[in-house]
């Protein structure tokens, strides 16, 4: 099984430690991980702004670069969602179909493909889990609070076995943080208000660390937190999962 590692553009540029943690974790789990360095981006920023047509070349590059792998794994729910859902506008060749079906977010890959949930994590902290929307509702990583179905959460499943961890309960367990891509720039007031409300929720309930499957959400929340001098740490889920004895 050969894994192609897809590192989203903003993680590549600003949070390489998340990429490093992801790669290390997958290798600890005994996998053959490759990082094709000609990769750039999944094209989501363009598509969400309405410029799907400008993103097609980027889509095609993605498919070309990653089609040789059995699985493509990425520490980003929104990018994976974008590939799986919105690459439907490409002509559906075998290559395209293969890539779309085999691109996974890190947590769902571990739970659904590797079929394991005990990563021997050591993490004695109070953790608030921010449920990034694309991963939650798009990739069905967990049950959204508004759906009347049996409850499950792949992220919580991986976290709760961590030694010493306390996962806090939030007042609004899955409200959007307000990042939304270019929404954060073109609707800055609402975007920041949503982010502040999320941070307040985590603070009220005692979070020492806030984690998520999407670094974009955390980048936005951290940006607000640092400006307000809030005392809370931000770690991508990959970093917590990689704090282990494997």
């Amino acid at each position: 099984m050969q894994i192609g590692l897809f590192i989203p553009c903003y993680i590549d540029q600003f949070y390489p430690k998340v990429g490093i943690a992801t790669m290390e974790l997958l290798e600890k789990l005994g996998l053959d991980v490759y990082y094709p360095s000609e990769q750039t981006c999944c094209g989501q920023p363009l598509a969400n702004s309405g410029a799907e047509d400008e993103a097609i070349k980027t889509y095609n590059n993605f498919v070309r670069i990653f089609s040789k792998f059995d699985y493509i794994v990425s520490p980003s729910g929104s990018c994976v969602y974008h590939v799986r859902e919105n690459y439907n506008i490409l002509p559906q060749t075998d290559e395209v179909r293969k890539v779309r079906q085999n691109t996974f977010e890190l947590c769902e890959f571990i739970v659904d493909i590797l079929k394991t949930d005990d990563l021997k994590i050591d993490f004695p902290h109070k953790v608030g889990v921010h449920q990034s929307c694309h991963g939650l509702r798009g990739l069905k990583l967990a049950t959204p609070s508004e759906l009347i179905v049996e409850h499950y959460s792949k992220v919580h499943r991986l976290l709760k076995k961590a030694k010493g961890i306390e996962i806090i309960n939030l007042d609004r367990e899955d409200e959007c943080c307000g990042f939304g891509g270019t929404f954060s720039i073109f609707q800055p007031d609402i975007s920041v208000k949503m982010g502040k409300d999320r941070l307040d929720d985590h603070r009220r309930n005692g979070a020492e660390v806030i984690t998520a499957t999407d670094m974009s959400c955390l980048m936005h929340l951290e940006g607000i937190a640092r400006r307000q001098n809030r005392e809370v740490r931000f770690l991508h889920i990959a970093e917590i999962l990689n704090s282990n004895r494997l």
């Binding site: 050969q2 553009c9 903003y10 590549d12 540029q13 600003f14 390489p16 990429g19 490093i20 490759y34 990082y35 990769q39 750039t40 981006c41 094209g43 920023p45 363009l46 702004s49 309405g50 410029a51 400008e54 993103a55 070349k57 980027t58 670069i65 040789k68 929307c133 694309h134 509702r137 798009g138 959204p144 508004e146 759906l147 009347i148 179905v149 609004r172 899955d174 409200e175 959007c176 307000g178 939304g180 891509g181 270019t182 929404f183 954060s184 073109f186 609707q187 800055p188 007031d189 609402i190 920041v192 208000k193 949503m194 409300d197 980048m219 951290e222 940006g223 607000i224 640092r226 400006r227």
Partner: protein, 462 residues
């Protein structure tokens, strides 16, 4: 910044009011959750409702004809209006032919959409909105900010002031029970004297020609049964095939809208009262065209419950008026561009695409999917400013080339790291107004990777 963004910024300036608005609507969403949890097959019910609506839309002409036939047999008069203007004309004609001057109306988003009130008022006809919330905004001369709770943005102090001014209520008495009682008294006379009662239509049953109206206040019934002439205005998409289908929709509607098991009154009107007249006006106003748009047709399934608004984190923090369209929130944002793509091009972008709206929609409209679609269609139709167009084109080129991408990233990081703060955090930097930019790492992931692994070693060359 776009229209919605500007208005939203204004809304947020009143922090206390905005926080109250957000908290209150969130509570309505939680009430909905509790109700839904109580229905053993809630998700199946949603699927059923969706399919019934999809089916109805696929045979809408047949069902409308069937509905009309039964309605006429029952003793109602059926009229057709292809445009908003035609609806207004028909209502006006009915009023004039019957020499009526005292008109009451219960909630109808359709008549709001068509501008019925201003049309009649211009012709010297007074029309009284009888829902308490609608009456409040009518007196205040404001548009509704929510389709179910139109006065949600107004505090009781303001209502007290308004009622004192317009209805002679006690000055300074802000007790909601007193204020509601004042409205009850004031409107009671209007009902008794009413000559024409206008209502909206929640559902129109093809099988038997029944018009179904759901209210909590009872004002639709007060008007309809007191006034000799009743007029029901419906969009073409309101028709459903069978009486039994009503079970599905009545189980979903109030639970989704307000967290009640059912509205206080679910009234089925089939024929006029002895000596009275019953009119049904079937309105198109762009809906038949929307049926032809495969990407957006499903928005016609909407039963106007407002659940999408209650769950939307953006709506809760921006208020209905920020959407500057008769119907606000997520559903409004996918209906408005169809009505006028230039005026409402900002609305599909007034969303973080979180997807919660689609999950609470009782008829399973893929609202966030349609928002995404509209973004593409509007951009192609030229909604993009030349600047934005340029930026997208350049970005597209950069992201498609790994060398350009690497270089751009390097430049961006260098700028953030080394340029003086005052240059970076200026008015142009919208992100930086209330957020810090991310800290710049020593090297990008790619740089780290290429440094630590030999070229061709692990980069996918098998």
């Amino acid at each position: 910044m776009t229209n919605h963004a500007h208005r939203a910024a204004r809304f947020l300036k009143n922090e206390e009011r905005a926080a109250w608005h957000d908290k209150t609507l969130w509570m309505v969403r939680k009430k909905r959750d509790l109700m839904a949890l109580d229905v053993p097959d809630w998700e199946e019910l949603r699927e059923q409702a969706s399919q019934i609506k999809r089916h109805s839309l696929s045979k809408l002409d047949d069902y409308l004809v069937q509905f009309e036939e039964h309605a006429i047999n029952n003793g109602a008069q059926v009229h057709w209006a292809s445009t908003a203007g035609k609806l207004n004309e028909i209502v006006y004609q009915i009023i004039k032919e019957n020499n009526a001057s005292r008109i009451v109306k219960s909630k109808s988003m359709l008549t709001e959409e068509c501008g019925l009130n201003p049309f009649l008022e211009k012709r010297g006809i007074e029309i009284i909105d009888t829902d308490l919330g609608e009456r409040i905004i009518q007196l205040k001369r404001e548009p509704p900010s929510h389709i179910v709770m139109p006065a949600i943005h107004i505090k009781k102090e303001e209502i007290s002031e308004l009622f004192h001014r317009e209805l002679n209520s006690e000055e300074g008495n802000t007790d909601p029970t007193y204020l509601a009682a004042t409205a009850r008294l004031h409107l009671r006379q209007k009902f008794i004297e009413a000559e024409v009662a206008i209502t909206g239509v929640n559902f129109a049953v093809a099988e038997n020609g029944a018009v179904v109206v759901c209210t909590n206040e009872g004002n639709a019934d007060m008007g309809v049964h007191a006034a000799p002439i009743q007029i029901h205005c419906m969009g073409i998409e309101k028709v459903i095939p069978r009486l039994s289908d009503l079970a599905v929709f009545t189980r979903l509607l109030a639970r989704s809208a307000t967290g009640q098991p059912i509205t206080t009154y679910t009234s089925h009107y089939l024929n006029p009262k002895p000596g009275g007249q019953m009119h049904i006006i079937i309105v198109d106003n762009g809906r038949s065209e929307l049926i032809g748009k495969e990407d957006y047709r499903d928005s016609l399934k909407c039963i106007r419950c407002g659940a999408c608004m209650n769950t939307c984190p953006v709506y809760r923090r921006s208020g209905g008026h920020s959407y500057h369209y008769v119907i606000p929130g997520p559903i409004g944002s996918i209906l408005a561009p169809h009505s006028n793509s230039k005026e409402y091009e900002d609305l599909p972008f007034a969303s973080s695409l979180c997807g919660s709206c689609s999950d609470v929609c009782p008829v399973k409209i893929d609202i966030h999917g349609q928002l995404y679609r509209w973004r593409q269609d509007l951009s192609q139709q030229g909604a993009r400013s030349p600047i934005k167009k340029g930026i997208m084109k350049v970005s597209g080129k950069i992201l498609a080339s790994d060398k350009m991408y690497d270089w751009s990233g390097k430049v961006a990081r260098w700028c953030i790291k080394y340029l003086p703060r005052v240059l970076i955090y200026n008015r142009l930097n919208t992100w930086g107004r209330e957020r810090e930019l991310p800290e710049v790492p020593r090297e990008s992931f790619k740089e780290w990777y290429n440094k630590n692994f030999r070229e061709g070693d692990k980069n996918g060359q098998k």
